[in-house]
């Protein structure tokens, strides 16, 4: 409840240029010619955003992540027509056999996408899914109830996105690899809306990579993904943030889980994008649900990576397991905020949270906050947090065996990330991420 309380009053309206630009452009002029119900939802969401504006550092959830520099710039609101064939090589995962879906500036690119015709798998641009029953049922149903003003903005004005549905009892034998390419050559504000629906007892693996095309301008992306797991469904969901600097990514992922479902989120950020903010909210909406959230953020330069997660235990007999690791280099900043709610109904909850941090850059910073709010009385919740640097003893031990200092650091960072990377269910992704960790160490 605390979370859902509208915080309109807490947000200061700002007369930054993106806000003004958005209100001026779209007031009374929202995207339409869509089902009437969608028009109405968009209108209401627009009003909500108009009232709240972009969040500022005065808002507790945005204390360390100042959006003002990003939203005081001027952006094209309709990204120019994207390049027909941007390079997707940067996103290729060696040894991964997958259905490939490419979104360029949020728009589905059918030429670059290679989704095989598989019974029970539907992949399409979000606009093509508007008339689907499950779209009507889940669109804005959960995400818009969170208090993130960026979701309201997205609901009102998204221009592209992806819809995936895996049918009842279907188990995909290949993962779906979604490649998000930022390509606009003039600074653009891109709003992407995705919906992934896992029908009852469906099983799938979705891997998302975020990359920047050569020659792209400083783009800002505001993405919302709504993910629903019906009874008994299983989803392995990877997000690999590989975009270049300068760029900004605001991602809100809202997951709703029904009975006996399993959701695993693996969230990795590497040196590159100037500002990355991920909101990952998992609502354990019925009993016997299991959720795992794993994260690795390896930051460099002046980068800021902020992971805000909510694990919301609504019903009894559920398990959640969360482990985030941050490694900060140079003058970068990492933020971790892990909120766990155990609602009154959620007896016999088992919730675990761990956040370990390694400060490498002498001038890097880490802000971490575990936040547990427990309203049930028969639960098991644990959380822990550590902060450290390179272990000099370990470095010397490795060097004394002939290993260079640089390579010794790589080994130690690997070791640090191991608790998380070893949980990756997909061996190709795991190996790839380990390689990216190595590459990301300067």
């Amino acid at each position: 409840m605390l979370d859902e309380l509208a915080t309109d009053t807490m947000l200061t309206k700002v007369s930054d240029s993106l806000y003004t630009q958005l209100i001026k452009t779209f007031e009374g002029n929202l995207p339409s010619a869509e089902p009437y119900s969608l028009d109405e939802i968009r209108k209401q969401a627009f009003e909500r955003f108009k009232r709240s504006g972009f969040p500022t550092v005065k808002h507790e959830d945005w204390k360390y992540t100042n959006l003002q520099p990003l939203v005081s710039k001027h952006y094209a609101l309709q990204p120019p027509k994207p390049k027909a064939r941007p390079a997707v090589g940067k996103a290729i995962i060696p040894g991964l056999d997958a259905h490939r879906v490419v979104l360029v500036d949020g728009r589905y690119n059918s030429e670059l996408s290679t989704v095989e015709d598989v019974d029970g798998l539907s992949v399409m641009p979000i606009h093509d899914a508007f008339d689907r029953l499950c779209f009507a049922k889940y669109f804005s149903e959960y995400a818009d109830k969170s208090d993130n003003p960026l979701v309201a903005l997205n609901t009102a004005l998204f221009t592209g996105g992806l819809f995936i549905e895996v049918g009842k009892n279907r188990q995909l034998d290949k993962p779906v690899h979604v490649i998000h390419v930022a390509s606009a050559a003039t600074p653009s504000f891109v709003q992407v809306r995705n919906m992934y629906v896992m029908s009852t007892f469906a099983e799938a693996e979705i891997i998302e990579s975020f990359i920047t095309d050569d020659g792209a301008a400083e783009n800002l992306q505001n993405a919302v993904s709504e993910i629903v797991l019906r009874e008994g469904a299983k989803l392995q969901h990877y997000a690999l943030q590989l975009a270049d600097s300068p760029s900004g990514y605001l991602n809100h992922t809202e997951i709703y889980q029904e009975k006996h479902s399993l959701y695993n989120n693996y969230n990795c950020t590497f040196p590159g994008s100037t500002l990355v903010r991920n909101n990952i909210n998992v609502r354990l909406g019925n009993s016997d649900v299991e959720s795992h959230l794993y994260g690795v953020a390896l930051t460099a330069g002046k980068q800021l990576v902020d992971n805000h997660t909510i694990v919301d235990h609504l019903k009894p007999h559920c398990e959640s397991y969360e482990w985030y690791k941050n490694i900060t280099q140079d003058t970068s900043t990492a933020v971790f905020n892990g909120k766990i709610f155990v609602r009154e109904d959620a007896q016999k909850t088992n919730a675990f949270q761990q956040n370990n941090n390694m400060l490498i850059g002498e001038k890097s910073a880490i802000y971490t906050k575990p936040q547990l709010e427990i309203f049930a009385d028969d639960v098991k919740c644990s959380h822990g947090c550590t902060i450290g640097q390179f272990d000099e003893q370990a470095l010397f031990y490795l060097r004394a065996r002939g290993i260079s200092e640089a390579q010794a650091r790589v080994l130690l960072v690997h070791a640090f990330a191991f608790d998380v990377t070893s949980r990756f269910a997909n061996p190709a992704v795991r190996e790839y991420v380990e390689h990216l960790v190595e590459e990301g160490l300067s």
């Binding site: 010397f396 690997h414 070791a415």
Partner: protein, 254 residues
């Protein structure tokens, strides 16, 4: 092979080594004994290049090359190996991956290509057998959850894998029961050759029953005060370190 002349070293501005001289030739095993605090472990750490140890005077040459000028990794690549008194645990770094990295970096330094995977695995198998190191341990994270004895045996396994010119065993016998001690000693004896040399740093004569040294040196107050053959170790065992302290202090008083 190794030539230490007038070595002075200090830790946190406390002078520990005060003019140490030592000559080690290929094919030789030298034991360095001495009471607690005499500077035994400091010698090992100075040779391996640990930063906290500051060399204030003197020279260390390895086959004519100035060792003190080199980084710890370059010393290792030149063929110096320190078997640690307290090997540390590094969870998440696999023993095998660690050894492969080390071996290949040493090879690269010598201008050799990385070792073929099959050759590497054969070498692992062969050396495991030679030093009686459990294959299960070799595949685990580096020293993680190993007993004290297992850690020491892992040092010897690494020694066997990396084939250094000069191995310094820093109190490898401490904390070992008699069976583990025998295994470690057997491993070292297998690895002895006319081309390499060993420095055994130890507090007790016990190890020298199993690894017979060519020379025994007594380190006291930062200098080598007595040198002899293995009989010196027996004499020490019998008379205790007080005997050395008294005679040396008496000499100093003259």
């Amino acid at each position: 092979m190794l030539s230490i002349r007038n070595l002075h070293a200090s830790v946190e501005e406390k002078s520990i080594l005060k003019g140490l001289d030592l000559e080690v030739n290929a094919g030789e095993v030298h034991a360095i004994m001495g009471p607690n605090g005499s500077g035994k472990s400091t010698l090992g750490n100075v040779l391996a290049g640990r930063e906290a140890y500051e060399v204030t005077d003197g020279q260390v040459l390895l086959d004519g090359k100035d060792l003190l000028d080199l980084s710890p990794e370059d010393r290792a690549r030149e063929g110096v190996f320190l078997a640690f008194q307290y090997p540390i645990e590094i969870p998440g770094v696999s023993n095998i991956n660690f050894l492969k990295t080390a071996l290949n970096e040493i090879r690269a330094y010598k201008g050799l290509p990385p070792m073929e995977a099959r050759d590497f695995l054969n070498r692992v198998k062969e050396k495991q057998k030679l030093v009686e190191f459990d294959a299960k341990l070799a595949n685990r994270s580096l020293n993680e959850g190993f007993s004290g004895g297992e850690k020491k045996r892992n040092e010897i396994f690494q020694l066997a894998m990396l084939e250094p010119k000069l191995a310094i065993l820093d109190e490898t016998d401490s904390g070992l029961d008699i069976d583990a001690l025998r295994i470690v000693a057997r491993g070292v004896n297998q690895l002895r050759s006319k081309d390499n040399a060993f420095i055994l740093i130890t507090h007790y004569q016990r190890l020298l029953d199993y690894i017979v040294p060519d020379f025994v040196h007594v380190l006291y107050n930062g200098r080598i005060v007595r040198s002899g053959t293995k009989e010196l170790a027996l004499e020490l065992e019998e008379k205790g370190y007080d005997w050395i302290k008294e005679t040396v202090d008496a000499e100093g008083a003259v």
